[in-house]
């Protein structure tokens, strides 16, 4: 169909996810949530911790990422991320563990503002999932 484009999510170990018939992808871009539709202008952007939503005609999938880079070109969307988990696979214990790890990390004193902001963001997102 004309309104569909291709998405590929890659992590260092493997090509994590790839789908041909996607209608919209919502990503947590650095300067706010961003929805990408077909024929978007070519873009490179940075992602902050958050939820990626992949929407197609039939279903909707959500993934939690901790960081990432996004490239959109010629109706090919590639997302590079070092840590990605499907939201439905996130158990409560897992979320709690990531939260407590992050809290430890954010309590380090000489953290620069940007990092602190990212970690706080991560904790907020995870809390809302819980």
């Amino acid at each position: 169909m004309s309104e569909e484009f291709k998405v590929e999510i890659v992590n260092p170990e493997k090509s994590f996810f790839s789908k041909e018939d996607v209608t919209e992808v919502v990503v947590p871009a650095f300067e706010g949530e961003m929805g990408i539709l077909k024929d978007h202008i070519p873009i490179i952007s940075f992602l902050k911790p958050g939820i990626i939503k992949v929407l197609s005609q039939s279903e909707e999938e959500s993934y939690f990422i901790e960081d990432g880079i996004l490239e959109f070109k010629e109706n090919n969307l590639s997302i590079l991320t070092s840590s990605i988990i499907k939201v439905s696979d996130l158990s409560k214990e897992k979320i709690d563990k990531i939260i407590s790890d992050s809290e430890k990390e954010s309590s380090i004193e000489d953290l620069d503002d940007q990092k602190k902001f990212l970690i706080d963001q991560k904790i907020d997102i995870l809390r809302s999932l819980n």
Partner: protein
């Protein structure tokens, strides 16, 4: 000449060695397949990362103020060399090939009167370098405990490198690893990762106008540290496939040599047994003749 008993013992010991090398070969073959698969699956990530960086760096307008990781510190006084080797031995020339390549490079650096710092990843590399370059080794890492190559470990190495770069402890960083070509051939590689060597802008066609969010510079300065971890991860994957390949062919050779040795020893054993029998016969016959 060795006695019959000794020969028998040697034959059985060579045979049991052969069993070990054969088993190691099988294990290496199985691991090789997995390592190769991992290396292939890791490729898209590093390729895409490379692409994005190429696109970005060609569109950075202000070359003067480009991040130092891309541009370099402007001098080449101190070299940091990261030597990636294995943690286990018995893999043929795998480790010595990397070390040889690295030592050649070290020699070149010291001839040019530049200072040298070394980080070894993998205990075998440290063992081989510590005699000659003990004072140059600033850090030794080993990931013996991790079962598989994972990005987390690579990231650790990357972070150490970045940290040292930010403290201006070195100007140029080069990594050494074996590139996996096939089971028999592994090519030792040296790759400069800081400052990043971009291809001589040969793919001008790729020069599309991207929209950036946030600014190019900001993305670049975030992306480059990640790229270093990615490059190291790639090197580690290639290395692990090479290690298994190298071990497999080394163990194959060892098994074959042991087989030849067993054959030779068996012939010797049979000969000396025959000689003993003949000797006894002669004694009996000559004893009977003298009667």
């Amino acid at each position: 000449m060795a006695s019959l008993d000794d020969l028998k013992k040697r034959i059985s010991s060579v045979k049991s060695t052969q069993k070990i090398t054969k088993a190691m070969k099988m294990v290496a073959a199985a691991k090789l397949r997995r390592a190769q698969e991992n290396a292939e699956r890791g490729r898209p990530y590093s390729e895409k990362m490379n692409n994005i960086i190429l696109n970005l760096s060609s569109s950075v307008s202000d070359k003067e103020n480009a991040p130092k990781l891309l541009q370099g510190t402007g001098q080449e006084k101190t070299h940091l060399c990261v030597v990636l080797t294995s943690d286990r031995g018995l893999c043929g020339g795998f480790n010595s090939n990397i070390i040889k390549k690295a030592k050649l490079f070290f020699q070149k650096i010291s001839n040019e009167n530049k200072s040298l710092k070394i980080i070894t990843v993998g205990s075998k590399g440290y063992d081989q370098l510590k005699r000659q370059y003990k004072n140059n080794i600033i850090e030794k890492l080993s990931f013996k405990d991790s079962k598989n190559i994972n990005y987390f470990d690579a990231n650790k190495v990357g972070k150490i490198i970045i940290e040292k770069f930010e403290k201006e402890e070195f100007d140029v960083c080069t990594i050494f690893y074996n590139q996996f070509k096939n089971v028999i051939t592994q090519i030792p590689q040296e790759q400069q990762i800081i400052p990043l060597k971009t291809e001589n802008e040969k793919d001008q066609t790729n020069n599309e106008s991207y929209e950036f969010e946030p600014e190019e510079d900001e993305i670049l300065s975030n992306l480059l540290p990640k790229n270093i971890s990615t490059q190291i991860f790639k090197a580690m994957l290639e290395n692990s496939a090479s290690e298994q390949g190298s071990r497999m062919s080394a163990m194959d050779n060892a098994t074959r040599n042991a087989g030849e040795m067993v054959d030779k020893l068996t012939i010797e054993y049979n000969r000396s047994r025959q000689a003993a029998i003949t000797k006894e016969l002669i004694e009996i016959i000559s004893g009977a003749e003298s009667l």
